[in-house]
Subunit: 303 residues, 2 copies
């Protein structure tokens, strides 16, 4: 199971209460942070994302509306006297910028801060944790940008207590192997098939975070199977030329990607402040992919 | 006349709605910005500080809670397609950091951005505008830090219409000299003294912004005559040892500076988040300097 909390979903030039891109995703008992727009640390507190559960932070690209909350967050972790490690994944150039930020304030983190450069040349697996993996997917924007796909690992099968109770020869020592999918083999060599004793686990969940990008069908094979896709939709169709020029997407383009990748649900965000009401964008997206929702600050999705 | 708007007044580790240091001061038809804590651009919009009236930004020091809103603000000015110049005053090291920030996002400001290094070795006049001056005052903190004193220039004397009406020989051509304080000299050489024809102008206003700093009586001669003094008061007296160690002030120390400098009013701020109710700090300050107020987000003072 994953839980997504949207902390901010507007593009640059924020108005009061319109925070720029920042999300937190709970999986494997960790909060993964996706982008860090200005004000992120306040939003983490507001929406009850415990700082102690944060271990990995992923930055898509170095435009300010995805980045300028990172410095304050890292600084606050220091003030909270954090000691456990933090892993920061993002464009190569972020390291040098952070060096300069730390140098300017003449402070060092109290915690081990590991930087992992994410190249934007090709998709790759960038993280392999116990319960999930993270892959980077190159996007098409005005500077090196990658989206991220978070994929749960398959869970063990569930024991079926009623079925097991019918076979007194199955001792507790066998449970681990049954969960791993093995058949039960009696001392005399006879076999009870696994699927008679266990139930399938819930399917592994997958979340894809794709921002900022021009319309880019290349990403489709990498996001296929996602239960939820967040895709930027900066512009309405009437401004498609502007989207092409600035390497952003329209809502209809985001929906086309969602449809062609066959995802479960599409969330659109990163709205330009030129649209007083983003429902225009929602309508345009739903015409192509009905199961679309608008991102909104504070929105929580469990899937 | 000056108008002060406090946009944020907490120290680091902000909670929701507790913005770090940022202020705007209206004088000479400009909004001067003092520090730029994270979220400043949102606060400027919330409290109706027009971006077009901002020309000078002053940064006291490079700790994040005074700085990390600057990058987003400069970036938003670019997105608003600003063309008029912006002057940034702050510690020397800020320039290199900003170079790196602009390099990382691969964008240049659309407007002329001028950087003026403010040395922290000695007090000096750093700005001389038509209607006001700004002086920097070195403070005592963990890295180079300066406070700022904004001083209105004396205004011209006001004509006294009733008095002037008694002398038909005073033509409109003489008004400019009268406002400048000159006596009126008749063609026959006889004199009407200026103070019979004009009224004194309102006294020039002065505002002093002193944060972050340990207790530092050296600043007193430089802030004397201030109508309003903002002085940091991070700690209560019970934590005086911590204040000394971290080079911050207690509320009582801030009040002692205010009393010894004979300012009109003291505003204390930069409260540590360890005090759930800053009225404790207010009480301690008022015991020394009764005309003390707590800073608060959104607070406006006209003086």
């Amino acid at each position: 199971m994953m839980e997504l909390r949207i902390l901010g979903c507007h593009s640059a030039t924020p108005k009061p209460g319109e925070f720029p891109s920042a999300q937190a995703l709970m999986t494997g008992n960790q909060w993964l942070l996706l982008d860090a727009g200005e004000g992120m640390q306040m939003q983490l507190r507001r929406y009850k994302v415990k700082f102690g559960r944060i271990k990995h932070i992923f930055i898509t690209h170095l435009h300010g509306d995805h980045l300028y909350g990172l410095f304050g967050l890292l600084s606050t972790l220091r003030l909270l006297d954090r000691r456990t490690e933090v892993h920061l994944h993002g464009p190569e150039a972020l390291k040098r910028l952070l060096d300069e930020v730390f140098r300017a304030s003449q402070v060092e983190p109290t915690y081990p801060l590991h930087f992992h450069a994410v190249p934007a040349d090709a998709p790759r697996q960038i993280l392999d944790e116990k319960h999930f993996t993270v892959h980077s997917v190159p996007l098409k924007h005005r500077l090196p940008t990658t989206g991220y796909v978070i994929r749960e690992k398959p869970k063990p099968r569930k024991l079926n207590p009623e079925a097991i109770a019918r076979y007194p020869e199955i001792g507790i020592w066998a449970y681990h192997k049954l969960k791993a999918g093995e058949d039960f083999v009696r001392d005399d060599g006879s076999v009870i098939p696994n699927d008679e004793l266990t139930l399938p686990p819930p399917p592994p969940r997958q979340y894809a975070y794709m921002t900022d990008t021009a319309y880019l069908p290349d990403i489709i094979p990498h996001i296929k199977g996602s239960d939820v896709l967040y895709h930027e939709a900066t512009f309405a169709e009437a401004d498609a030329a502007l989207a092409a020029k600035t390497l952003h997407s329209t809502a209809r383009q985001a929906a086309t990607i969602a449809r062609d990748a066959g995802v479960g649900k599409l969330i659109i965000g990163h709205f330009s402040s030129r649209y007083p009401d983003p429902r225009l964008l929602l309508d345009e997206a739903r015409a192509v992919f009905p199961d679309t929702e608008l991102a909104a600050e504070g929105k929580t999705l469990t899937f």
